[in-house]
C-alpha cells in the first residue's frame, strides 16, 4: 500500500489514533480536574469515530431505507451507529456524575488542582 493510498483510505483511523492520544494526554498531564474530564470526552469521541468509520461505505448513502429494502454496499451499516448513539448518552451521564464529584471535591478541598488537592489531603 503506497503512502498516498494509505492516507486516503485510512485517514479516519489515523484521526482516531491522534484524537485518542490527545484525549489520553489531557487525562494524564493536565493538573486541572475539569480539563481531565474534557480529555475523557475527547477520548470517547475518538472511539465513536472508529465505530462510525467501520460502518462507512464508499458511494453508499445514509441508512434510511426505502420500503422494499436495501442491499449491503448501498447503505452504511446502521449497527455501529446504534452502539455509538447509546455510548454518547451513557457518556454524558458519566460526565455529569464526574462533574458533580468535582464540585464536591471543590467544596471539600477548595481547589481543582491535582497537586494542591493531594497536599491538602495529606495534612
Amino acid at each position: 500500500m503506497s503512502a498516498l493510498e494509505f492516507l486516503t483510505t485510512g485517514y479516519a483511523y489515523l484521526a482516531f489514533a491522534f484524537l485518542l492520544a490527545t484525549g489520553l494526554y489531557m487525562m494524564i498531564a493536565s493538573p486541572n480536574l475539569v480539563k481531565k474530564i474534557i480529555g475523557l470526552n475527547m477520548f470517547q469521541s475518538a472511539i465513536f469515530l472508529f465505530f462510525v468509520a467501520t460502518a462507512y461505505v464508499q458511494g453508499g448513502s445514509v441508512p434510511v431505507i426505502p420500503q422494499e429494502g436495501g442491499a449491503v454496499g448501498e447503505y452504511a451499516s446502521p449497527l455501529p451507529h446504534v452502539i455509538v448513539l447509546t455510548a454518547i448518552v451513557v457518556g454524558v451521564s458519566l460526565t455529569a456524575v464526574a462533574l458533580a464529584l468535582i464540585v464536591r471535591i471543590y467544596t471539600e478541598y477548595g481547589s481543582l488542582n491535582e497537586e494542591t488537592i493531594r497536599e491538602v489531603a495529606r495534612r
Binding site: 485510512g10 486541572n32 455501529p80 451507529h81
Partner: protein, 180 residues
C-alpha cells in the same frame, strides 16, 4: 478523501490540540465545543447523520453546559500564562501509544473507503438482514431508529435506567435533597 474531509480532519485536529494547550479552562471548554461540532460534521460526512445530530445536541450542547456550570460553581486557574506547560514524559507515553495504534491502521481492512461492498467490521450478513428486513419488521424507514427503538428496545430502556441512575448519583453527591 474529499476537500471537505481534509478540512474537517484539520479542524478537528487543530481544535483538539488547542484544547490541550490552552491553560484557561473556560477557553478550553469553548474550544472543545467547537471540536464537538467538528466531530458531528465528520460523523455526518461518514454517513452517520443520526450520530452527528446526537453529538451536536449532547456532545456540543449538554456536555458544554455541564462543564460551564461546573466552572461557574467552582474556580478556574488564574494567572497571565496563556499556554499550559507541556508534561513531556506523558507526551512521550501517549506519543508511543499513538504510533502503536497508528501502525495497526494499514492492517485494518479499508475496503469500505475504496468502493468495497461491505462495511468492514460489522458482519455483512447481519447488516444485510437489517437493511433488507427493517421496514417489513418494524414499519420504520430509518434503520438506526428501528434498531434503537424496536429491535433493541430493551437495551434503550436500560440506557434510560443508566441516565436515571446518573441523575440520582448527581443528586446524592451534591446533597441536593429535593424532597426533604
Amino acid at each position: 478523501m474529499s476537500a471537505v474531509g481534509i478540512a474537517l480532519v484539520a479542524f478537528v485536529a487543530v481544535t483538539a490540540v488547542a484544547t490541550v494547550l490552552v491553560r484557561d479552562v473556560l477557553s478550553a471548554i469553548i474550544i472543545f465545543g467547537a471540536y464537538s461540532l467538528g466531530m458531528a460534521l465528520f460523523y455526518t460526512l461518514l454517513l452517520a447523520p443520526d450520530v452527528g445530530l446526537t453529538e451536536a445536541a449532547i456532545g456540543a450542547g449538554v456536555t458544554t453546559i455541564l462543564l460551564l456550570v461546573t466552572i461557574a460553581k467552582t474556580t478556574r486557574p488564574i494567572g497571565d500564562r496563556v499556554l499550559a506547560s507541556i508534561n513531556w514524559p506523558a507526551a512521550v507515553v501517549v506519543g508511543v501509544l499513538a504510533v502503536l495504534i497508528g501502525s495497526t491502521v494499514p492492517y485494518i481492512p479499508t475496503d469500505n473507503f475504496t468502493g468495497g461492498l461491505t462495511p468492514v467490521i460489522a458482519n455483512p450478513n447481519v447488516t444485510g438482514y437489517y437493511l433488507e428486513m427493517t421496514y417489513a419488521d418494524t414499519g420504520v424507514t430509518n434503520a438506526v431508529t428501528a434498531v434503537l427503538a424496536a429491535y433493541r428496545g430493551f437495551d434503550t430502556f436500560g440506557e434510560a435506567v443508566v441516565v436515571f441512575a446518573a441523575g440520582v448519583a448527581v443528586l446524592v453527591v451534591l446533597h441536593t435533597e429535593v424532597f426533604s
